[in-house]
Symmetry: C4
Subunit: 229 residues, 4 copies
């Protein structure tokens, strides 16, 4: 381990606090069971390579503290921490390395989003709240096994062609991005909410489509005028 540069100490510690606190949102909104799921944040480094802060592997949600968070570089190597980083760290790191505007990443196996992912089926944009938040369907990424860059690559390639901050990785589950950790957590919460609502709508028939022009105007207003992001 090379350690955290002194100039980033304050920023890293603040990110650890935020990332630890944001993990509490995942069980609160019932997006995770046991130790599954993880939130990370980028720590920008004006004088060198950026770092990321993420949850260590296999920690129970009630045992998460700011001190327990680990720091990695954008190749996924451990820079600071007593425990191994989450086994999903390579995917988070790849996203930060390849999407410079992304400041936060979240991964869960939230039930309804994962069910769409298991069928490899995108979630159609049939709710006004979905037009607001996602600007269209939630897309599906490729099947990829853990152990190399293929999960990160699949996330980045899919999200680059979409307005959605969420991607459903096939047979796996959702990854979401945002300008910071909180935005990525919000996207994870909203992704499960629309996955569930559209699933339930589909159980008894077909949801009515929303015209593309309405989707566009809702998305534009929510993202640019309303200023919720």
């Amino acid at each position: 381990m090379t350690g955290v540069p002194a100039a980033l100490r304050t920023a890293v510690d603040a990110a650890k606090e935020r990332v630890a606190a944001l993990h509490a949102e995942l069980p609160r909104w019932e997006l995770v069971v046991w130790t599954a799921g993880n939130v990370s944040e980028r720590v920008p480094n004006p004088d060198g390579e950026d770092l990321l802060v993420i949850k260590p592997s296999g920690v129970a949600y009630e045992d998460i503290t700011a001190e327990a968070m680990v720091v990695c570089d954008l190749a996924g190597n451990l820079v600071e921490g007593d425990r191994s980083p989450s086994s999903d760290t390579a995917a988070h790191a790849y996203v930060y390395a390849n999407m410079p505007d992304v400041g936060g990443v979240v991964h869960t196996h939230s039930t309804y989003a994962t069910a769409w992912a298991a069928r490899g089926e995108e979630i159609p944009c049939v709710l006004t709240m979905m037009a607001d938040e996602f600007g269209g369907p939630v897309p599906v990424g490729p099947f990829a096994v853990i152990g190399d860059d293929s999960i990160g690559h699949g996330i980045v390639e899919t999200l680059r062609e979409s307005r959605s901050p969420a991607v459903l990785m096939r047979n796996h589950g959702p990854f979401t991005i945002g300008k910071d950790g909180r935005s990525a957590v919000k996207a994870a919460v909203m992704c499960e909410e629309v996955a569930r609502t559209v699933h339930i709508a589909r159980q008894l028939g077909q949801p009515l489509p929303i015209e593309q022009s309405h989707i566009d105007s809702l998305y534009d207003r929510y993202q640019n005028v309303y200023g919720q992001h």
Copy 2:
């Protein structure tokens, strides 16, 4: 901002307390995620135009306080408050301006009610508790985009032709009304409950209909004799 008239100070402050407290019912009954959903109350003004009290935009449920609530006139303009009113304020204001007996309005994206709304399908009255509370089916309102009077207009036109205090706005979600904020919250809770129960009944077949004369007598008894409203 013109400010709250001195004669309404006490009434406005009491409404802020009630509206803030009623917001806690929305996550309690699992009708909302993140910052979605809002409750408002009318403040009658014997000497001029009525006001309304509503949640500001984008506030987390755990941060809601009476002081944070905002006051608007019935054209939706901000009268008092440090933050922007909920982006749904225009719809609430339109309802108060056009339905003088309404004292409270609630809007959520509660899951099952929104699923019926996504299909544009009314909830049939096949439960005695639904006859009690809604006096018939829960109707569907038109598709309307945010930004002008069309949501409020759709709510009012639909509810005027129904005994139901709830309307499912197409592809959007439920709006409910009541004589005060608490009654509108109760209608929101019951709307999701009947949306869920009838959905589940329909998953394995067709619910048995209830005769119109029984619906009428149940509704009459509950509203007039039993005195729960």
Copy 3:
């Protein structure tokens, strides 16, 4: 009001404590929303007519106290209490008056049980826990409107022909009985549990039947040998 006989004072007060405490089990197990649902207990009177203790009408679950409980006779008339008894009191009273072994009654609109009731379809006995607790299917009672003896009559006629302590009243919801209030609450919890599990099993196909001889031996062991009732 004739008042509670002095000889029953202690027994009535103890029943009020138990009935108030048992109401907390209904929201805990998610069987009720808002003020719906009620638990009652019989107070035997060796020297005259039995009484019953029940929740008053329209009280929020967080406001339930032993003092707030009301006492009625088995014709449903108020004997003691500051508030009106639950509007379901006549049905509870009819059960006590006609089923001398019943010491507790519970009524809810729990979601899955009510969904079976809306279709007028009994829950088939396809789980070992259902054989244990119900000894066969959970039966459906007739459609009945509130206001006379017809609900109570329907409950009693249906349960007399069944080993089940639960009946699904058509388009309405479940009523359960037990030797005391706690047993009736347990039956309400288990009724919703089996209603939900068998519903979910049925969504993707047909549950495998259990032979009648196995149902009989499971029921006999659980009720008589194991001693859980």
Copy 4:
């Protein structure tokens, strides 16, 4: 009762603490209602026969304490405790007697797993988290009534032919095993999670299969490299 050998006193008391604490995980993850469900742990005896620690019968979850836990031998006979052991003790004991590597056993009637069990249908391995944890489908065990060795026998015969730590006993519910009580509880939580997610995926179509070679590599990495078990 022969009593706990003095040499096992410390180990038995530590196991009682762990088993009591692990029971709190069952309602936390919504795997049980009322008093259903049980966790046990093996207490190895280097100088004789092993013992097991399990919950007594019919105890409410809020009343579970370390002191209330009971000790049995691997024939299911009570060795120490004031109350009767869980009526599922014979099944737990049979597993310990016939699977020497098993240190913990859990039994629940968790809703979705029990629904698959009611249809007698294995859960197909269509999620990467399922490949990680179960290494393939979750298998179905035979129908067996309580009262002899047939439940234990069915569990052991089914699990011996599978990599899965969970078996769905037909018309009954899941049993899970692990190297200790905590691992068996984790398997029970994950079993319900995959039962629910695959159920929901199947409601709207067919999940995409995962190639056997990918299942094998995910399982190998998770169990051996990642070190979460």
